[in-house]
């Protein structure tokens, strides 16, 4: 039984070999590509649950590959990089990655990140039994995970959708950063404010009429975020 299909994209053959061996031992099905172009080809013909994407690759770099994947797919992406700087993190997340792991990493840490990224928020219907929501041109269908913005289907990654639905069933309530991170990413998370900042921005770009002046996803400075639902 497969725990999921993972595509390893790295120009270093040793890393590809190690990843293949260790992840296969954990019951993942693993494919590998040597560069961004190859990965994009593979993603067109095969289905994967997650891509482990090296950030520093010759040719189409990791960031650009991530953008290209995102333009046609909402597969989960974890970026691997040697730099542990805020700038690199934000750049990776901005390009559409779901998470970010610094090289070298320990296998248990990587597995935890993979599990957190593949983790889906359990569908807990709220008291009102909210299933569907329509507001100002945005239609959100929770059971089918479908979002339509002004007549067009918006493509949300799994994490983006989980974050949005977590907001939706708690409207008009400020939710603390830590609570959001632990609910959507997992109990190991809590301090990664940059994840929230980038993901909320990504959501705003997809559903807000004017992302620079958010109407639904409101920031409550120093405290958290709030989903504003007009009564």
């Amino acid at each position: 039984m497969s725990a999921g299909r993972i595509l390893v994209v790295d120009d270093d053959p040793q890393i590809r070999r190690t990843m293949k061996a260790t992840l296969t031992a954990r019951h993942y099905e693993v494919g590998d590509s040597r560069n961004g172009e190859e990965a994009l080809d593979r993603l067109r013909s095969e289905t994967y649950d997650l891509v482990l994407l090296d950030m520093n690759m010759p040719g189409t770099g990791g960031i650009e590959t991530c953008r290209l994947i995102r333009s046609s797919s909402d597969v989960a992406i974890i970026m691997l990089t040697v730099n542990n700087t805020e700038k690199d993190k934000v750049e990776a997340l901005d390009a559409g990655a779901d998470d970010y792991v610094t090289k070298p990493f320990s296998i248990p840490e990587l597995l935890a990140r993979i599990r957190a990224t593949l983790r889906r928020l359990p569908q807990v219907p709220d008291e009102a039994g909210l299933q569907q929501l329509t507001l100002e041109g945005v239609e959100i269908d929770l059971p089918s995970r479908q979002v339509t913005v002004r007549g067009r289907t918006a493509r949300l990654t799994a994490k983006e959708f989980d974050l949005l639905s977590y907001f939706l069933i708690r409207p008009n309530k400020t939710i603390a950063h830590r609570e959001l991170l632990q609910a959507v990413w997992g109990p190991d998370y809590g301090d990664e404010l940059e994840y929230l900042r980038v993901f909320v921005n990504r959501l705003r770009k997809k559903i807000e009429p004017d992302p620079s002046k958010p109407r639904f996803l409101v920031t409550d400075a120093w405290a958290g975020y709030r989903f504003h639902l007009p009564h």
Binding site: D12, Q14, I15, R17, T18, M19, T22, A25, N56, L80, V82, N83, N84, T85, E86, K87, K103, P104, F105, S106, I107, P108, E109, L110, D191
Partner: protein
């Protein structure tokens, strides 16, 4: 080149000789004209005295216009004498019988003087106009040359050469006050170069006009009232206005060069910074890629269930794992240090709560401090600080890491923040063996490791990185310690200005 100086002097005396020769020649010509008139009318064409008088008058007018005052005066006196002797009765004597002859004489003289002066003034004006025009042309040529200076030589040197070239005068010395250097168009053009050197400096500092010998003028070069250098040159051929324009041109030229140099320097600094950054990225990548494979294998083996490896194998893999960790830290810190060394990197400053910096560092070091008696003391109502949070958290984590490493397991560690005048001081104190006084100055050096820490895992770069981070912020890190009393490392952080905080 000494020869050329001599030839200048020789050519000056030769010039005056030639002038004297011209004057003699002109005098001879003028006297011949008078003699010719006298001969023609006395011997060949007998006319009355009045007509001869007119002819003399015309001749003097011509001489005065073409020649100068001297020729005119000499000719008019000669003409008067000839007129008197040959034409005025009683002919053959210098006696003047008729008072009208005095009138004739007076008319000759007045005409001669007036006409020669008028023509002299005209000639002088014309010459001056020509000189001005010539000066203007030279200044124009100079200004073009200054605009077109290149970077092969110091600009001041090029300006000095261009002045020498434009004014055909090798004796030009330009002193640039900023570089304190004297630039000579021709090294041998000045007879006493040491005196010129010291006077150039004096002139620039006191902003005063000085002289050296009879010929050399030393003038300060000012820009916006500030002296920026001085210029020494033989001044005789330049009008004051031209000299002033020349000085202004030189001032503008020097200033332009200075501005260009600053731009160039900034550009070079930026390019070398970019190159350094690219190199460091490549280095990090090359080291960390193999480490990633090693680390993946060791951690994978160690995370397998207990029974999959024997006790001995597990121990060996753990050694490889620790080695990989150590190498990773070494590479990371060496690159961090290289990146921030010299303080020439861009700080990404923001407004932060001191307490959130502390808690971020504590989170990062959680695996190290687990099981230690950790006390955190943060004063209430601390002001916000204006720092690069990533770097401050990094160095704080280094300090906590050190405190854990250099003290007995189980001994307490104190971490805190307090307001300290215009700064916020953050401190990390342990109850380890302390640092002796002679070691205290050396622990911030690269690769230095305390005597008590030789056996510990570390890179010896943590405190060097901390000091560089503080330097970049314009703040300080210091240590208070004595043997057996523990060590307290403290650093100050700048308080955020009110307008930034809001």
């Amino acid at each position: 080149m000494i020869a050329s100086t001599g030839s200048t002097i020789r050519s000056v005396s030769a010039g005056s000789l030639r002038q004297a020769g011209y004057l003699t020649l002109r005098l001879l010509l003028a006297l011949s004209l008078i003699a010719a008139i006298t001969f023609v009318f006395f011997r060949l064409i007998p006319v009355n005295a009045t007509t001869v008088g007119f002819f003399y008058l015309v001749a003097i007018l011509v001489i005065a216009t073409v020649g100068g005052l001297i020729e005119a005066t000499v000719s008019s006196i000669t003409a008067m004498l000839c007129f008197n002797f040959f034409f005025l009765p009683p002919v053959g004597t210098f006696t003047i019988a008729d008072p009208q002859n005095w009138v004739a004489l007076f008319a000759f003289l007045t005409t001669a003087l007036t006409a020669s002066q008028l023509s002299d003034r005209l000639k002088r004006q014309r010459r001056e106009a020509l000189d001005r025009q010539h000066e203007m042309e030279r200044l124009y040529a100079l200004s073009r040359a200054i605009l077109l200076t290149d970077t092969t030589q110091p600009t001041a040197m090029q300006i000095a050469n261009q002045i020498a070239k434009a004014f055909e005068c090798p004796a030009v010395a330009l002193y640039d006050h900023k570089t304190s250097e004297v630039y000579l168009a021709d090294r041998d053009a000045f007879p006493n170069i040491n005196a010129i050197n010291s006077k150039l400096r004096e002139s620039a500092i006191q902003s005063s006009v000085l002289k050296e010998g009879d010929e050399i003028l030393i003038t300060p070069i000012r820009l916006g009232g500030e002296p920026i250098g001085s210029l020494a040159l033989t001044h005789t051929f330049l009008s004051d206005a031209a000299l002033q324009s020349l000085l202004n041109l030189v001032a503008v030229g020097l200033e332009k060069a200075r501005a260009q140099e600053e731009v160039n320097r900034a550009q070079v600094a930026r390019q070398s910074e970019e190159l350094k950054s690219t190199l460091l990225d490549a280095l990090a990548h090359e080291f960390k890629t193999p480490l990633t494979s090693i680390k993946a294998v060791t951690t994978d083996l160690l995370s397998n269930p207990e029974e999959s490896l024997s006790q001995e194998q597990r121990g060996l893999v753990a050694i490889a794992d620790e080695g990989a960790d150590r190498l990773d830290r070494l590479v990371t810190e060496a690159i961090q240090l290289a990146r921030i060394e010299g303080g020439k990197f861009q700080l990404n400053r923001g407004v932060h709560f001191p307490s959130s910096l502390l808690s971020a560092a504590l989170r990062q070091t959680k695996s190290l401090t687990d099981g230690r008696d950790l006390k955190v003391q943060v004063e209430d109502n601390l002001p916000l600080v204006f720092v690069d949070a990533e770097l401050i958290v990094l160095m704080l984590a280094h300090l906590i890491d050190n405190a854990v490493k250099y003290s007995r397991p189980g001994s307490p560690i104190l971490i805190g923040a307090r307001a300290d005048g215009k700064a916020v001081t953050i401190y990390v104190a342990d109850q380890g063996p302390g640092i002796s006084e002679d070691e205290q100055t050396r622990i911030f050096d690269k690769f230095y490791r305390g005597r008590n820490g030789q056996h510990l895992k570390g890179t010896g770069m943590g405190l060097a990185i901390a000091r560089e981070i503080m330097r970049a912020h314009g703040e300080e890190i210091w240590v208070k310690s004595s043997p057996d009393q523990g060590s307290e490392f403290s650093f100050s952080l700048p308080v955020a200005p009110v307008e930034v905080a809001e």
